[in-house]
Protein backbone atom coordinates (compact mmCIF):
# COMPACT_ATOMS: atom_id res chain seq x y z
CA UNK A 1 0.00 0.00 0.00
CA UNK A 2 1.27 3.48 -0.85
CA UNK A 3 2.24 5.64 2.07
CA UNK A 4 0.06 8.65 2.79
CA UNK A 5 1.58 12.00 3.60
CA UNK A 6 -0.60 15.08 3.93
CA UNK A 7 0.74 18.38 5.19
CA UNK A 8 -1.04 20.22 7.95
CA UNK A 9 -3.12 23.31 7.30
CA UNK A 10 -4.49 25.82 9.78
CA UNK A 11 -7.47 23.55 10.41
CA UNK A 12 -6.42 20.08 9.34
CA UNK A 13 -3.69 17.89 10.78
CA UNK A 14 -0.51 16.47 9.32
CA UNK A 15 -1.11 12.87 8.26
CA UNK A 16 1.74 10.42 7.99
CA UNK A 17 0.68 6.85 7.28
CA UNK A 18 3.73 4.72 6.63
CA UNK A 19 2.34 1.31 5.76
CA UNK A 20 5.77 -0.15 4.98
CA UNK A 21 7.01 0.58 8.51
CA UNK A 22 3.66 0.21 10.28
CA UNK A 23 4.06 3.67 11.65
CA UNK A 24 1.13 6.05 11.61
CA UNK A 25 0.59 9.55 12.93
CA UNK A 26 -1.93 12.36 13.05
CA UNK A 27 -0.55 15.68 14.31
CA UNK A 28 -1.80 19.21 14.65
CA UNK A 29 -5.13 21.00 14.67
CA UNK A 30 -8.23 19.26 13.41
CA UNK A 31 -11.48 21.02 12.64
CA UNK A 32 -11.76 20.55 8.89
CA UNK A 33 -14.69 21.99 7.00
CA UNK A 34 -15.84 18.52 6.07
CA UNK A 35 -14.54 15.80 8.37
CA UNK A 36 -15.67 12.89 6.17
CA UNK A 37 -14.04 14.43 3.15
CA UNK A 38 -10.77 14.90 4.98
CA UNK A 39 -10.63 11.63 6.93
CA UNK A 40 -12.90 9.36 4.88
CA UNK A 41 -10.44 8.09 2.30
CA UNK A 42 -7.41 7.79 4.53
CA UNK A 43 -9.20 5.98 7.33
CA UNK A 44 -10.75 3.66 4.76
CA UNK A 45 -7.29 2.82 3.41
CA UNK A 46 -6.08 2.23 6.94
CA UNK A 47 -9.01 -0.06 7.74
CA UNK A 48 -8.45 -2.03 4.52
CA UNK A 49 -4.79 -2.43 5.39
CA UNK A 50 -5.35 -3.67 8.92
CA UNK A 51 -8.06 -6.12 7.89
CA UNK A 52 -5.39 -8.71 7.05
CA UNK A 53 -2.82 -7.71 9.60
CA UNK A 54 -1.22 -10.61 11.47
CA UNK A 55 1.66 -10.89 13.94
CA UNK A 56 2.63 -7.33 13.31
CA UNK A 57 3.87 -4.51 15.47
CA UNK A 58 2.16 -1.25 14.64
CA UNK A 59 2.56 2.20 16.19
CA UNK A 60 -0.05 4.93 15.97
CA UNK A 61 0.82 8.37 17.29
CA UNK A 62 -1.70 11.11 17.99
CA UNK A 63 -0.25 14.54 18.65
CA UNK A 64 -3.17 16.91 18.52
CA UNK A 65 -3.29 20.50 19.63
CA UNK A 66 -7.00 20.90 19.11
CA UNK A 67 -9.73 18.77 17.57
CA UNK A 68 -13.45 19.34 17.24
CA UNK A 69 -16.23 16.94 18.11
CA UNK A 70 -16.59 15.63 14.54
CA UNK A 71 -12.92 14.70 14.56
CA UNK A 72 -13.46 13.02 17.93
CA UNK A 73 -15.79 10.56 16.19
CA UNK A 74 -13.03 9.62 13.77
CA UNK A 75 -10.55 9.19 16.62
CA UNK A 76 -12.96 7.01 18.56
CA UNK A 77 -13.37 4.79 15.49
CA UNK A 78 -9.60 4.46 15.14
CA UNK A 79 -9.11 3.63 18.83
CA UNK A 80 -11.81 0.95 18.75
CA UNK A 81 -10.40 -0.62 15.59
CA UNK A 82 -6.81 -0.51 16.90
CA UNK A 83 -7.91 -2.34 20.02
CA UNK A 84 -9.63 -4.99 17.91
CA UNK A 85 -6.55 -5.67 15.82
CA UNK A 86 -4.53 -5.90 19.04
CA UNK A 87 -7.01 -8.50 20.26
CA UNK A 88 -6.44 -10.40 17.00
CA UNK A 89 -2.82 -10.93 18.03
CA UNK A 90 -0.96 -7.88 16.74
CA UNK A 91 1.20 -5.69 18.95
CA UNK A 92 -0.39 -2.28 18.84
CA UNK A 93 1.20 0.75 20.46
CA UNK A 94 -0.81 3.95 20.70
CA UNK A 95 0.99 7.13 21.74
CA UNK A 96 -1.06 10.11 22.78
CA UNK A 97 1.16 13.18 22.87
CA UNK A 98 0.08 16.46 24.43
CA UNK A 99 1.70 19.72 25.45
CA UNK A 100 2.69 19.24 29.09
CA UNK A 101 0.53 22.14 30.30
CA UNK A 102 -2.53 21.07 28.34
CA UNK A 103 -4.61 19.25 30.96
CA UNK A 104 -7.59 19.04 28.65
CA UNK A 105 -5.69 17.19 25.93
CA UNK A 106 -4.20 14.89 28.56
CA UNK A 107 -7.67 14.19 29.91
CA UNK A 108 -9.02 13.48 26.43
CA UNK A 109 -6.19 11.00 25.99
CA UNK A 110 -7.17 9.32 29.23
CA UNK A 111 -10.80 9.21 28.14
CA UNK A 112 -9.98 7.57 24.83
CA UNK A 113 -7.29 5.33 26.30
CA UNK A 114 -9.23 3.94 29.25
CA UNK A 115 -11.43 1.74 27.06
CA UNK A 116 -8.49 -0.04 25.45
CA UNK A 117 -8.18 -3.64 26.57
CA UNK A 118 -5.52 -5.03 24.28
CA UNK A 119 -3.50 -2.22 22.77
CA UNK A 120 -0.61 -0.63 24.63
CA UNK A 121 -1.37 3.00 25.44
CA UNK A 122 1.11 5.71 26.34
CA UNK A 123 0.39 9.25 27.44
CA UNK A 124 3.36 11.30 26.33
CA UNK A 125 3.78 14.85 27.66
CA UNK A 126 5.79 17.14 25.37
CA UNK A 127 7.53 20.33 26.27
CA UNK A 128 5.48 23.32 25.22
CA UNK A 129 7.01 25.39 22.43
CA UNK A 130 6.52 29.04 23.02
Amino acid sequence: MNNIKIEATERSPDIDFNFAENNFSIRGESYPEDVSEFFGKITQQFYEYVADLADTELTFTFELIYFNSSTAKVLMGLFDRLDEIAEEGNKIIINWCFEEDDDNMEELGEEFGEDLEHAEFNLVPKETDE
Binding site: Y31, N68, S69, A72, K73, M76, N104
Partner: protein, 184 residues
Protein backbone atom coordinates in the same frame (compact mmCIF):
# COMPACT_ATOMS: atom_id res chain seq x y z
CA UNK B 1 -27.74 60.43 15.09
CA UNK B 2 -25.91 57.61 13.36
CA UNK B 3 -22.85 57.84 15.57
CA UNK B 4 -25.01 58.14 18.65
CA UNK B 5 -26.98 55.06 17.67
CA UNK B 6 -23.85 53.04 17.07
CA UNK B 7 -22.27 54.26 20.26
CA UNK B 8 -25.35 53.28 22.26
CA UNK B 9 -25.21 49.87 20.66
CA UNK B 10 -21.55 49.56 21.48
CA UNK B 11 -22.22 50.67 25.07
CA UNK B 12 -24.91 48.10 25.58
CA UNK B 13 -22.59 45.38 24.31
CA UNK B 14 -19.88 46.72 26.56
CA UNK B 15 -22.21 46.62 29.56
CA UNK B 16 -22.79 42.94 28.89
CA UNK B 17 -19.05 42.41 28.89
CA UNK B 18 -18.95 41.58 25.18
CA UNK B 19 -15.43 41.60 23.80
CA UNK B 20 -16.36 40.32 20.37
CA UNK B 21 -19.62 40.14 18.49
CA UNK B 22 -20.60 38.79 15.08
CA UNK B 23 -24.02 38.86 13.49
CA UNK B 24 -24.53 37.33 10.07
CA UNK B 25 -24.22 34.17 8.04
CA UNK B 26 -22.27 31.44 9.69
CA UNK B 27 -19.88 29.89 7.21
CA UNK B 28 -16.68 27.88 7.50
CA UNK B 29 -14.69 30.89 6.28
CA UNK B 30 -16.21 33.04 8.98
CA UNK B 31 -15.38 30.32 11.51
CA UNK B 32 -11.75 30.27 10.47
CA UNK B 33 -11.23 34.02 10.43
CA UNK B 34 -13.14 34.86 13.60
CA UNK B 35 -11.53 31.90 15.36
CA UNK B 36 -8.10 33.28 14.67
CA UNK B 37 -9.14 36.80 15.78
CA UNK B 38 -10.52 35.44 19.06
CA UNK B 39 -7.37 33.42 19.75
CA UNK B 40 -5.15 36.43 19.05
CA UNK B 41 -7.28 38.81 21.09
CA UNK B 42 -7.33 36.53 24.14
CA UNK B 43 -3.62 35.83 23.85
CA UNK B 44 -2.94 39.59 23.62
CA UNK B 45 -4.99 40.06 26.81
CA UNK B 46 -2.74 37.44 28.48
CA UNK B 47 -5.68 35.18 29.20
CA UNK B 48 -4.76 31.82 30.69
CA UNK B 49 -3.99 29.31 27.93
CA UNK B 50 -6.52 26.83 29.30
CA UNK B 51 -9.26 29.44 29.12
CA UNK B 52 -8.27 30.39 25.57
CA UNK B 53 -8.48 26.74 24.54
CA UNK B 54 -11.86 26.38 26.23
CA UNK B 55 -13.28 29.51 24.63
CA UNK B 56 -11.98 28.49 21.22
CA UNK B 57 -13.43 24.97 21.49
CA UNK B 58 -16.85 26.25 22.51
CA UNK B 59 -16.74 28.86 19.75
CA UNK B 60 -15.99 26.22 17.07
CA UNK B 61 -18.77 23.91 18.25
CA UNK B 62 -21.29 26.75 18.50
CA UNK B 63 -20.62 27.93 14.95
CA UNK B 64 -20.44 24.42 13.49
CA UNK B 65 -23.70 23.55 15.21
CA UNK B 66 -25.41 26.42 13.39
CA UNK B 67 -23.82 25.49 10.06
CA UNK B 68 -24.61 21.80 10.44
CA UNK B 69 -28.15 22.49 11.55
CA UNK B 70 -28.83 24.73 8.55
CA UNK B 71 -27.56 21.99 6.22
CA UNK B 72 -29.14 18.97 7.89
CA UNK B 73 -32.51 20.44 8.60
CA UNK B 74 -34.77 19.52 5.74
CA UNK B 75 -35.88 22.80 4.29
CA UNK B 76 -37.99 21.13 1.62
CA UNK B 77 -35.95 22.92 -1.01
CA UNK B 78 -36.81 26.31 0.36
CA UNK B 79 -33.69 28.34 -0.08
CA UNK B 80 -34.98 31.13 2.12
CA UNK B 81 -35.36 28.89 5.09
CA UNK B 82 -31.84 27.59 4.76
CA UNK B 83 -30.54 31.14 4.74
CA UNK B 84 -32.62 32.05 7.79
CA UNK B 85 -31.25 29.07 9.69
CA UNK B 86 -27.69 30.02 8.87
CA UNK B 87 -28.02 33.48 10.27
CA UNK B 88 -26.43 33.57 13.68
CA UNK B 89 -25.43 35.93 16.42
CA UNK B 90 -22.25 35.13 18.28
CA UNK B 91 -20.65 36.85 21.24
CA UNK B 92 -17.54 36.28 23.26
CA UNK B 93 -17.21 38.21 26.46
CA UNK B 94 -15.98 38.54 29.98
CA UNK B 95 -18.23 39.28 32.92
CA UNK B 96 -17.51 38.87 36.60
CA UNK B 97 -14.21 37.16 35.84
CA UNK B 98 -15.85 34.53 33.67
CA UNK B 99 -15.44 34.20 29.95
CA UNK B 100 -18.52 33.31 28.00
CA UNK B 101 -19.43 32.36 24.46
CA UNK B 102 -23.05 32.83 23.51
CA UNK B 103 -24.75 32.06 20.26
CA UNK B 104 -28.26 32.59 18.96
CA UNK B 105 -29.95 31.25 15.86
CA UNK B 106 -33.33 30.35 14.47
CA UNK B 107 -34.52 26.77 14.60
CA UNK B 108 -37.68 25.12 13.44
CA UNK B 109 -40.28 25.03 16.17
CA UNK B 110 -40.73 21.29 15.79
CA UNK B 111 -37.14 20.77 17.01
CA UNK B 112 -37.51 22.75 20.21
CA UNK B 113 -38.84 19.91 22.37
CA UNK B 114 -36.07 17.41 21.59
CA UNK B 115 -33.36 20.00 21.87
CA UNK B 116 -34.64 21.30 25.19
CA UNK B 117 -34.84 17.77 26.56
CA UNK B 118 -31.33 16.93 25.37
CA UNK B 119 -29.83 20.10 26.79
CA UNK B 120 -31.67 19.71 30.10
CA UNK B 121 -30.12 16.28 30.37
CA UNK B 122 -26.62 17.52 29.53
CA UNK B 123 -26.94 20.39 31.97
CA UNK B 124 -27.61 18.03 34.87
CA UNK B 125 -24.65 15.76 34.22
CA UNK B 126 -21.44 15.96 36.19
CA UNK B 127 -18.01 15.58 34.64
CA UNK B 128 -18.09 11.79 34.69
CA UNK B 129 -21.61 11.69 33.25
CA UNK B 130 -20.64 14.04 30.43
CA UNK B 131 -17.65 11.89 29.60
CA UNK B 132 -19.76 8.74 29.38
CA UNK B 133 -22.41 10.42 27.26
CA UNK B 134 -19.74 11.94 25.00
CA UNK B 135 -18.18 8.56 24.35
CA UNK B 136 -21.46 6.79 23.77
CA UNK B 137 -22.55 9.42 21.23
CA UNK B 138 -19.15 9.24 19.52
CA UNK B 139 -19.61 5.49 19.11
CA UNK B 140 -23.06 5.72 17.54
CA UNK B 141 -22.70 4.55 13.97
CA UNK B 142 -25.53 6.64 12.58
CA UNK B 143 -24.78 10.32 12.27
CA UNK B 144 -26.59 11.88 15.17
CA UNK B 145 -28.85 14.70 14.12
CA UNK B 146 -28.12 18.14 15.41
CA UNK B 147 -31.87 18.30 16.01
CA UNK B 148 -31.45 16.68 19.40
CA UNK B 149 -28.48 17.53 21.49
CA UNK B 150 -25.61 16.08 19.54
CA UNK B 151 -21.97 15.61 20.35
CA UNK B 152 -21.29 19.29 19.66
CA UNK B 153 -23.43 20.34 22.62
CA UNK B 154 -21.85 17.71 24.87
CA UNK B 155 -18.45 18.99 23.86
CA UNK B 156 -19.53 22.54 24.74
CA UNK B 157 -20.74 21.39 28.15
CA UNK B 158 -17.43 19.60 28.76
CA UNK B 159 -15.49 22.79 28.10
CA UNK B 160 -17.92 25.04 29.95
CA UNK B 161 -16.29 24.67 33.34
CA UNK B 162 -18.77 27.16 34.81
CA UNK B 163 -21.86 25.71 33.18
CA UNK B 164 -24.24 26.43 30.33
CA UNK B 165 -27.49 28.36 30.02
CA UNK B 166 -29.99 28.06 27.21
CA UNK B 167 -33.37 29.37 26.25
CA UNK B 168 -35.96 29.45 23.48
CA UNK B 169 -38.38 32.11 22.43
CA UNK B 170 -41.05 32.26 19.72
CA UNK B 171 -40.08 34.05 16.54
CA UNK B 172 -43.05 33.42 14.25
CA UNK B 173 -45.36 30.53 13.36
CA UNK B 174 -42.57 28.43 12.00
CA UNK B 175 -39.41 29.43 13.84
CA UNK B 176 -38.20 29.75 17.38
CA UNK B 177 -35.09 31.61 18.45
CA UNK B 178 -32.59 29.48 20.33
CA UNK B 179 -29.74 30.74 22.43
CA UNK B 180 -26.99 28.97 24.31
CA UNK B 181 -24.41 30.57 26.57
CA UNK B 182 -21.40 28.70 27.89
CA UNK B 183 -19.25 29.97 30.76
CA UNK B 184 -15.58 29.06 30.73
Amino acid sequence: MLAKQMLDFRKSLHNEGVVFCYSGYMTEDVLLSIGSVIKKKLAADSVDKKVVRGVFSVFVEQVQNVIRYSIEEDTGGQQNEEIELRYGLLMVGLKEDQYFVSCGNLINKKNVGTLREGLNHIQQLDKEGLKLLYKSVLRRSVPEGSKGAGVGFIDIAKHATNGIEFDFTDYDDQFAYFSLKAYI
